[in-house]
């Protein structure tokens, strides 16, 4: 399973929206192979009878009352934006379809 290929890394980089260079892809393919073969050890003990734990301390039903709180001003909301038109964030053309 740790036979990770450069094509896979390129696909992962696309999923993660990182424009890795060919050199990085090559380097990372090698590193990931090593890391994955080390971390695959989890399967030595992760048998079907063991339930997964996603939260270290189990809580449930943590809710918020439906009460309006403080909001940011539009200026505060846009303050950190690389580009804005005064009321909205500006992004360059979108190629993909809406989800």
């Amino acid at each position: 399973m740790s036979d990770i290929t450069a094509e896979q890394v390129a696909h992962l980089a696309h999923l993660a929206r990182i424009a890795l260079t060919p050199h990085e892809i090559e380097h990372m393919t090698r590193e990931l192979g090593q890391i994955m073969s080390a971390v695959e050890r989890v399967n030595e003990v992760a048998t079907p009878d063991v339930p997964p734990t996603s939260h270290p301390i189990a809580l449930h039903n943590v809710f918020r009352a439906d009460v309006v709180g403080n909001t940011l001003t539009t200026a505060e909301a846009l303050a950190g934006a690389p580009e804005a038109d005064g009321t909205r964030f500006v992004v360059s053309a979108i190629l993909g379809e809406e989800q």
Binding site: A58, T74, G96
Partner: protein
């Protein structure tokens, strides 16, 4: 775009069996968003907010911000699940759906994956002619809405050809419940009508529950329609398309019908259906190809580590179950009897998606007949003529007021239609418009007597004829009085008074 080949609908049904599946997104009308205390634009109170004003660090996905679940949204979701006949999960979890898109502030959507709040239900949907079909519900899960993109620089305001886009995150984080049906078999030629009636039923349910404004033109209720065809006798399901965001009841029916005809033409011509999303175009009544569904769609769901499980107790479920409004089918049966409608009259209301409006109008004091007449008559006519959704034209309270004004004799039907124009134009309540426009029927007999006496005095020959028993001559006087009162008088009353006056003089 090139117009697709379509097969005649009946011919398509002869060769193929349509199988549909529907995904309805309901925006809940809680005061605040799903995971943040920002005001919720799906609540009418905050609907018209300026861009990026309903914003907290959570809505923008600012580094360090964390979601906290809105308890009311959970209660609404459970109520909806129960109303859909679903089981409520003993333990339900949120999951992250990871994909990049500029309207998605965190580049993941908090949704639910394998542990939805509600699952395995069914909704009885009634079609024209009284046929009912139980639509099987696979699941209803909680999630958050995305922001809104405005595409600038393209010819059509669409995404293609735009130079850049603007992002407003007001809608980001609006609480949604996504209701997913199982594949629906056996609707046959009724498939398009069933799709429409199903969404109308969901709309009735959420309105009865009071958990959504359910205004389709605002996107409070959105439908994605999956359609596939299989040759008669085939076991295996055909390849399906998913037509996204069909946002009126009428369009849902048209879009399903269109897809059946389009797919049938392709299949009959030996072609294959591409599994893809398709976009519905209201203007042309067609769908066009969108994004192909592929293995590249890898959403990498995993349990949302910032949130903890929702474990609805039996007590809560019992409480919400007890508070449920009656099921739509039972409600329809009851209302039909209560309102005294004929089958045809009732179908008119139900198929127009107007049950909730008529019920609310009756509740506001109108007679069922008047409520039905206004909603399925004048309002529907205006809606069709203007391309607007009938429910956005007037509120039930306004219609009830209009009916009351007619009933008490203040307005004639003709004047009431004028008042309705004012209501639609946003001039105020019917009573306010009657006052402002001076529309009221002159019901003050005193002022009518003056006008009548004046007219009789001006035309003694006519008075003589009336006295001689030539009652039809009264028409001349009535006309004069109506002119004098600019049409605000009730002609029937004027006639009575003219005869009375003539006899007395």
């Amino acid at each position: 775009m090139a117009r697709a080949e379509l097969m005649n609908f009946d011919a398509a049904l002869d060769q193929f069996e349509p199988v549909i599946g529907l995904e309805v997104h309901v925006e809940l009308n809680t005061r605040t968003k799903m995971f943040s205390s920002s005001p919720n634009p799906a609540n009418s109170q905050f609907h018209s907010a300026e861009p990026n004003t309903l914003i907290t660090p959570v809505c923008l996905g600012l580094p360090g911000s964390l979601p906290v679940v809105n308890e009311t949204a959970v209660r609404y979701s459970i109520s909806l699940g129960l109303a859909l006949g679903c089981s409520i999960a003993a333990s339900s979890r949120f999951a992250r759906k990871n994909y990049f898109y500029p309207d998605l502030a965190k580049n993941y959507q908090i949704s639910q994956s394998d542990e939805p709040i509600a699952f395995d239900g069914g909704v009885e949907v009634e079609l024209d002619g009284g046929r009912t079909i139980v639509v099987p519900i696979e699941r209803a899960h909680m999630e958050e809405d995305a922001g809104k993109l405005t595409h600038v620089g393209g010819a059509t305001g669409r995404i293609q050809g735009a130079e850049y886009s603007l992002v407003d995150y007001n809608r980001a984080g609006v609480p949604l419940v996504e209701i997913v049906t199982r594949p629906i078999f056996g609707a046959e030629k009724d498939a398009p009508a069933l799709a429409r009636a199903y969404v109308a039923t969901i709309r009735d349910i959420v309105l009865a529950l009071g958990i959504s404004e359910a205004r389709m033109e605002r996107g409070n209720l959105r439908c994605d329609a999956n359609v596939s065809l299989r040759p008669r006798g085939a076991q295996q399901l055909g390849t399906r398309t998913e037509t996204k965001n069909v946002n009126s009841l009428r369009s849902i029916e048209r879009a399903v019908r269109y897809e059946i005809q389009r797919q049938a033409a392709i299949l009959a011509g030996g072609g294959a259906i591409t599994q893809e999303t398709r976009h519905w175009h209201e203007d042309t009544g067609t769908t066009s190809a969108g994004r192909p569904k592929s293995d590249a769609d890898d959403y990498r769901y995993f349990p949302e580590p910032d949130l903890v499980p929702v474990v609805p107790g039996a007590e809560l479920i019992a409480e919400l179950r007890a508070a449920l409004p009656e099921p739509p089918a039972a409600r329809r049966a009851r209302l039909k009897v209560e309102w005294g409608f004929t089958d045809l009259e009732f179908q008119d209301v139900a198929n127009g998606g107007l049950l909730a409006e008529v019920a609310a109008t009756v509740a506001a004091g109108a007679s069922p007949a008047a409520a039905r007449k206004w909603w399925t008559g004048e309002l529907t006519r205006i809606a069709n003529a203007t391309g607007r959704d009938v429910t956005e034209l007037a509120t039930p309270a306004q219609v009830a007021e209009l009916a009351a004004l007619v009933n008490e004799g203040t307005l004639t039907d003709r004047l009431a239609r004028q008042a309705l124009e004012g209501v639609i134009a946003g001039e105020g309540s019917p009573r306010e418009i009657v006052d402002a426009r001076g529309l009221a029927v002159v019901s003050d007999d005193g002022s009518l007597y003056a006008a009548i006496d004046e007219a009789l005095a001006a035309q003694p020959d006519v008075l003589a004829k009336i006295r001689d028993g030539k009652v039809e001559a009264a028409g001349v006087i009535i006309g004069a009085v109506m002119r004098a009162t600019k049409g605000t008088a009730d002609a029937a009353r004027v006639r009575e008074l003219v005869l009375e006056r003539a006899a007395a003089s």
